[in-house]
């Protein structure tokens, strides 16, 4: 177990290292950093001074080492637009994105699992077929288009929901979150639903497939033969066994959801880090781009690691394999 964890940590470390190299080469080698980092109005003397100040006259490997040491100290450069450390900028906007992602995942589980359970238990019912047909749409429709339609119908035509922005936030354990105010909920519902759509379809299908697979197995028939109530058979015996793949996929999807929040945040003008990165790309604010990419990659690797750990906790078979 400890050995496995160590192995994974080393692996994660190398992936992060590889990402820093890719991002570094992308930003500092493909584009000319001198053009990007120095305002065009600078005089030649100023130019030379800034070049040596930024270490751009050094060989590439030394620049990379410098970039790494700075990154390790949490210094990923200053935003040209906001003139603030890029890292701070992103961390400021991260709660809004995380909140949206958490809400989307919650929606996915709360909607997807019951619907999937129903569709799995009654595969031939009309409602089940409708659920499955709609879930295909959830996979194949582009998220931004669904978001636009949600805005068009519920915000513009009906006027029920606000079309953009994050509403009032309330404080919870020192964190500002929309979960605490009614206005926050109203603003969060449409973007949350939009972001959740893909995950709802996925959990729904996973749950359904799991139910279909597990129902005919011996232990379920045995539990029934024992005279256990259907609610207990489904709630305990069946549900417990489908939770393993569902938890894995939902966990893994958390990272994807954060990445995909870029789209939802753009549609709903949600002030999270996804909107920040798009704005930054449009004005070529490179330090922010670098910082965002690094943070999301690290976040991703951490999530994958946690999911792997959870997987081991939930599934004894995987535990055995890791031990062997």
């Amino acid at each position: 177990m400890a050995e496995w964890l160590l192995h994974r940590l080393v692996q994660a470390f190398f992936v992060i290292l590889a990402m820093t190299a890719i991002v570094f080469v992308g930003v500092y080698a493909i584009g000319n950093p001198v053009d990007i980092l120095i305002p065009p109005s600078a005089t030649e003397a100023e130019r030379l001074r800034i070049i040596s100040e930024l270490g751009l006259d050094q060989p590439l490997w030394r620049q990379y080492l410098q970039f790494l040491t700075h990154a390790a100290q949490g210094d990923l450069g200053r935003s040209f637009v906001f003139n603030e450390p890029a890292l701070t900028l992103i961390l400021q906007r991260m709660p809004a994105t995380l909140e949206l992602a958490v809400f989307a995942i919650l929606l996915a589980v709360l909607i997807g699992v019951p619907l999937g359970l129903y569709a799995g238990l009654r595969p031939n019912a009309l409602l089940s077929r409708a659920i499955m047909a709609i879930s295909i749409l959830g996979f194949s429709l582009p998220a931004f288009w669904v978001g636009i339609m949600l805005v068009m119908v519920f915000a513009v035509q009906m006027g029920w929901m606000p079309s953009a922005g994050r509403g009032e936030t309330g404080s919870f354990l020192g964190i500002q979150t929309s979960f605490m105010t009614l206005d926050g909920w109203r603003h969060m519902l449409l973007p949350g639903l939009n972001l959740a759509l893909f995950n709802i379809s996925m959990t729904l299908r996973l749950t359904r497939a799991g139910v279909r697979e597990i129902l005919p197995l011996d232990f379920v028939r045995y539990a029934r033969a024992k005279g256990l109530s259907p609610a207990r058979v489904i709630g305990v015996h069946v549900l417990k066994n489908i939770m393993v793949p569902v938890v894995t996929v939902v966990g893994l999807e958390f990272g994807t959801t954060i990445a995909f929040a870029v789209v939802t945040e753009t549609v709903f003008a949600w002030p999270g880090m996804g909107k920040l990165i798009i704005d930054s790309i449009n004005v070529l604010d490179r330090p922010v781009i670098v910082a965002y990419l690094m943070i999301v990659v690290v976040l991703f690797i951490v999530i994958n690691l946690i999911v792997d750990l959870l997987y081991m906790v939930l599934d004894p078979r995987v535990r055995q394999e890791a031990r062997a």
């Binding site: 288009w145 068009m152 798009i278």
Partner: protein, 301 residues
């Protein structure tokens, strides 16, 4: 559509006939096929069908800006799907946009398929270190969501059709590589490969002449699905403003351009391009579903 064309390369024509008969069994799939053909024809002949060239500024009349669908133009003629802020006929813009969307989607899928298939075949045939190296790369690639990878590439390289295609290729190649490798690993142990090896045939010929045709079914299934994915991803990137340049707007960019007018009730500028995108994606998916059902006997119940 592509599926049938690809299958024609297989020498025996009996499987092809069986495939066509199986395919025609689902009316929904035929509908999808008709949809795909329509979209492709519209895209190819956009220049002849479209009422105006939406990017020839001399043909635009700014006085006709933001007209509703069905409104009459100042100089006669009707804007069936309305006009955008510059007085551009939306129907024409959609037809031209379709061309770019399909071109980018198909083009990137084709390149990704070539690269992924070659790497997958080589990995399965060579085995050992080569295999491990390719599969590590595939795992690494697939562990990051497509949107993030594409975002990263476009953030580093900037906008442009070529960069979008490059981003889509990098996002997609791994799916092809994984699929082909899995199929090739099974085929590699068959006698015909051994026989070809005994004949001292060149390795290239064994790979592409013997192994590849037998790996085609799963490849076709993945290919159809990936084309739809590529089109959707390109639309998403263009919607975010990172994709194609303003001078060559795809459906995604048209939707994005119209979005700001939607809040004031002028829905058509982004609604109809969206509908076109939707129609394209759903058609391809319907075809893809049926192709998968036919070519993947395990799923047949």
């Amino acid at each position: 559509m592509t599926a049938i064309a690809d299958n024609a390369a297989v020498p025996a024509d009996t499987p092809l006939r069986r495939f066509v008969i199986d395919f025609a069994r689902s009316p929904l799939a035929l509908l999808g096929l008709a949809g795909v053909l329509t979209v492709v024809l519209l895209a190819v002949f956009a220049a002849w069908i479209a009422p105006q060239d939406p990017y020839d500024l001399t043909q635009l009349n700014i006085m006709d800006g933001r007209l509703e669908p069905g409104a009459d133009a100042e100089d006669g003629g009707t804007y069936w799907l309305g006009t955008d802020a510059q007085g551009r006929d939306m129907l024409s813009a959609i037809l031209y946009g379709l061309r770019i969307s399909l071109g980018v989607g198909l083009g990137s899928s084709l390149i990704a398929c070539l690269i992924g298939t070659s790497l997958g075949l080589i990995a399965a045939y060579a085995g050992g270190r080569t295999d491990a190296a390719v599969m590590r790369a595939v795992d690494l690639q697939l562990s990051f969501p497509a949107i993030l990878v594409a975002l990263m590439i476009l953030a580093l390289l900037g906008k442009g059709i070529m960069n979008v295609i490059l981003a889509l290729v990098i996002v997609e190649w791994a799916y092809y590589a994984r699929t082909v490798r899995a199929a090739a690993l099974v085929e590699r142990r068959r006698e015909y490969v051994e026989a070809a090896e005994c004949l001292m045939l060149p390795r290239r010929r064994i790979l592409f002449g013997h192994l590849l045709p037998n790996c085609l079914p799963p490849l076709i299934v993945v290919g159809t699905m990936q084309v739809a994915r590529a089109i959707a991803l390109e639309a998403t990137l263009s919607f975010l403003g990172l994709g194609v340049p303003v001078t060559q707007p795809s459906l995604g960019l048209l939707i994005s351009n119209g979005y700001q007018y939607m809040l004031s009730g002028k829905y058509w500028i982004s609604f109809y391009p969206g509908l076109a995108l939707l129609f394209t994606l759903v058609s391809i998916n319907l075809v893809g579903d049926q192709v998968r059902d036919i070519l993947n006997p395990r799923l047949r119940t």
